[in-house]
Assembly symmetry: C2
Homo-oligomer: 462 residues x 2
Amino acid sequence: MELLPAQQVAFQRMLDTIRRGFERFGFLPVETPVFELTDILLTKSGGETEKQVYFVQSTGALERDRKHHGPASSANPADAKVPELALRFDLTVPLARYVAEHEHELNFPFRRYQIQRVYRGERNQKGRYREFYQCDIDAIGKDSLALAYDAEMPAVIYRVFEELAFGPFTIYVNNRKLLRGLLESYHITDDLQAPVLHEVDRLGKQDRVKVEDALATLGVPQVSVSRLLDTLTAHAGDSRALLASLHDFENPTPAFTEGLAELEKVYQGTLALGVPPERCKLNLAIVRGLDYYTGTVYETFLDDHPNIGSICSGGRYDNLAGHYTKSKLPGVGISIGATRLYYQLMEAKIVQAAAAAAIANVIVLAREPALVPQYLGLATELRARGINVEVYGAEDKLEKQFKYTYKAAIPYAILLGQREHDAGIVKLKDMRAPKGPELDVPRGELVDRVEAVVKHGWTPTS
Amino acid sequence: MELLPAQQVAFQRMLDTIRRGFERFGFLPVETPVFELTDILLTKSGGETEKQVYFVQSTGALERDRKHHGPASSANPADAKVPELALRFDLTVPLARYVAEHEHELNFPFRRYQIQRVYRGERNQKGRYREFYQCDIDAIGKDSLALAYDAEMPAVIYRVFEELAFGPFTIYVNNRKLLRGLLESYHITDDLQAPVLHEVDRLGKQDRVKVEDALATLGVPQVSVSRLLDTLTAHAGDSRALLASLHDFENPTPAFTEGLAELEKVYQGTLALGVPPERCKLNLAIVRGLDYYTGTVYETFLDDHPNIGSICSGGRYDNLAGHYTKSKLPGVGISIGATRLYYQLMEAKIVQAAAAAAIANVIVLAREPALVPQYLGLATELRARGINVEVYGAEDKLEKQFKYTYKAAIPYAILLGQREHDAGIVKLKDMRAPKGPELDVPRGELVDRVEAVVKHGWTPTS
C-alpha cells in the first residue's frame, strides 16, 4: 500500500490516535529491528509461516552463497543454506525475543506497545499486503500476571475505537478455559477439542446448520451438538444473563469453574474502567486461534460492517518466550492490523481521504515580491503559536496559487498585497470552497484571529 | 540499534519533535514500501551502493531460484539472477520513484517529509547501523523551483534543533555554482574541479597545510592554492562581511555571479524567517557531496561537538527523477540521520535515557483488593483529562509496587487505602525520589490537582 499525501495524512492520524490510546494507559514504546535471525524467527512457527517469510541477503552474502552453491560445489540443492536473516512477520516473535534478551533490565509486569510494519511473502492481492502495520500492546508478567491486565485490554480497545470514530463497535470477550470446560461437560474428548473449536469459530460466519453437520461429522453425538450450540449462543448480547446462566450450569468441570471466575472478573474490571456494557459483551462463540491462547480472548467488530471481520483481537497466553528463556512469562495482548483496516475502511467508504486532510492550517500567498519578508515574518509568528503554515514560494499568478491551495486542501489563506499593506491590514480567506468568504484583519490582530479560526473554525464573527 | 523502553521513549520524543517541526512548515507525510524493485534501486547508484544493498526473497522465490541454479542447470554462476526486490538504502531513490509514479496526482511544488528506516548491508560496528532512521524533507518543483524553498530549509533546521535542545548549533550554507565560479576564476579546469572540491571538503576536518599539499599534488599552481584557500576561509563566521567581499571579487565568472545572487537571496530569506545570524552562517568551504547537488548546500554542526560531524545536511539538485520521468523536477532537501545522531548524542552524554522518560504521568497503586473498582474509576477520570495513567494490577506488597514505580520512573503515585477512603481523601505521592513528599487530597479535587501537578510540576502548594 502506497498512499498519496492526503490519504497518508488520514492514515497517520489513525496511527497517532492508536498510539495516543496506548500511551494513555501507560504502555511503553518498543521498536525492534526488522531483521531477526532466521533460526529465531522460525523456532516455533509451523509450515505455513515458513512459506511466508522474506529472507534477506546483502550483496556480499549473496555472492558468497552463489559461489558456494555453484556447479563446482555441492551436488545436492537440498544442502542450500537458508539465509541467516529474515524480516519479522509479526510482532509477537520479536517481543518474545526482546523480552528474553532484556529480561533482567525490564520492569515486570512489562507493558509495551509496538507499532511497526511486518512482512509476509503473500501474493499481492486486494486488501492483502506484503508489508503492513501492526499495532500491538501486551502486558507480560514474570511467573504470574494478574487478571486486571486482561480487564484493561477492552478498555484500551474502547478508548481507541471511540476516538477513531468509525461508528458503533462491539468488543466480544470469552475465556478458553471456560470453553474447554464446556466441551468437557459435553464429553468431547481432548483430541476432538481443537477441531470442534475450529468449527465453533465459524458460528458467526456461516449457518448454524453447517456447523452442526461439521460437528456431527467429527463424531460429536447429535444430542450434544445441539445442546452445545444452544449453550454457546444463549443470551447473546446480554452478558449479565449469560453469566447468571453459566453459574447455574449443571455439571461444571474444574476448567469450567476457573474459566467462568476469570471471565466474570475480567468483565467486571472492564465495566469498572468505564466501558459501557453495549460496547463490551461476553460471547461464548468467540474462539480466536487454536493453540496460542489459553484464557481470555477478544475480538472486536464494527456493528454496521460485520463483513470486515474482527478489527482488533487478542488474548491471554501462558508463556510468551518458552523457546528463548526458562522464565515463565504469561501475558495478555491485543493487535490492530492498521494497514488492512485502513484499506477496508476506505473500501467501505467509512474513511475517505478527507477534503481537510492537509498538514498546513494556513498558507501565506505570494502577492508582491517586495513584501516577501513580511510574508515570512507572518509565517514565523504564526508558527510560534503552534500553527502549521506554508508559504507559497514562487512568483506565480494568484489564480495558480489558489488552484494549488484548493488541491492541497489547505483551509485558510493569508493575502497581503500593497494595498492591504498600506492600509495596515491583512486579508484572511476561507479556502474550503471556491469563492469562500474573506476578512480584512488589522495586522496586529492577525495571529490571534488566525489561531481562533484554526481552533474553532470560521464563524461570521471571525 | 535496539533500545530499552526508557531510551525508546527519549528517541521517540526526538522523532516526534522532528516531525512536528516538519509539519509546522506544512510538509506532507509520505511513506513508501520498504521493498523497491532492484532495477529501480540500482538505476543510478554506483558500485559502492550496490555492495550495500539488501536483497529480499520470499521462501517460494528462494526455492525456485535454488532449483534453477542447482547443479543440473547453468554451469556459470555469473548467470545467477539478482533477486527482484531489495530494501531501500535511502529515501531519495524512493522519493524519485514516488514522484515519477504519482506525478499527475501530486500538487507542485510538492513538499514532503518522510521519516522511515533505511537499510545498508554494512558490517555491524559502533555507530554504524544496518537499519537506521532517516528524516528527510524535500520541496520538488515542476520545471522550476523558487529559491524561497532553499531559504526555508535552514528555518526548518533551526526550529527542529532549537526544540531538540542539544545545545548551540550552526547551520552552514554555501552555493555550488558560486564554488564552481570561484574555481574557474582560479583557472582550475573542469576535470580538476571534482577532486579539488573533494580536498576542500576536508578543510574543516584537517590541517590546512595538508589540504594545500593535496591541491598542489593535483596540479593546482602553488599561488592559486594559497589564494583559493584564503578566499574560501575568509570572513569565517561573518556572513555579511563575506557577502560584501564576494561582491568585490575581481574577475567573477557567470557561474560565480549567479551563485552569489542565489546565496544572498537564500541567506536573506532565512534571516527573514527569523533564524538568528549566529545560527546560520555562510561558509564557502562547505561542499557537501560531489555530483548530486548543483546549487545551495547545507551542513549543520553542534558548536560544542564538532567531532560528531554534520547532524543535518542537504542541498539543491537540478533534477530529481531523470531516470524515471521526462519531466524536469528540480528540488531542494535536507536529511537528519536520526539513529546515528541519537547514538552519538548518547555517547557524548548530551542525551541520556532521562530519569523521567516514562510514558505514564501517574500510577494508581493497589492497596486494597476491595477498592480496585475505585482505582479503575480514578484512572478513567484522569485519562479523560488527557493524563497517561497506569494502574498497578497485582495484589503485591506496597514495597514491591514502589520499587516497580521507581524503576519505571513514573513521577507520581496515587494511593487510596481503606483509611483514606473512609476519610474521603486520596494520597498523591511524589515518586521522583525515594521518600518524596505526599499530600492528602480530597477525592473530589483529585483530578484537578493531578492535572496541575503533571502540567506544572510538584510545588509546595500542590
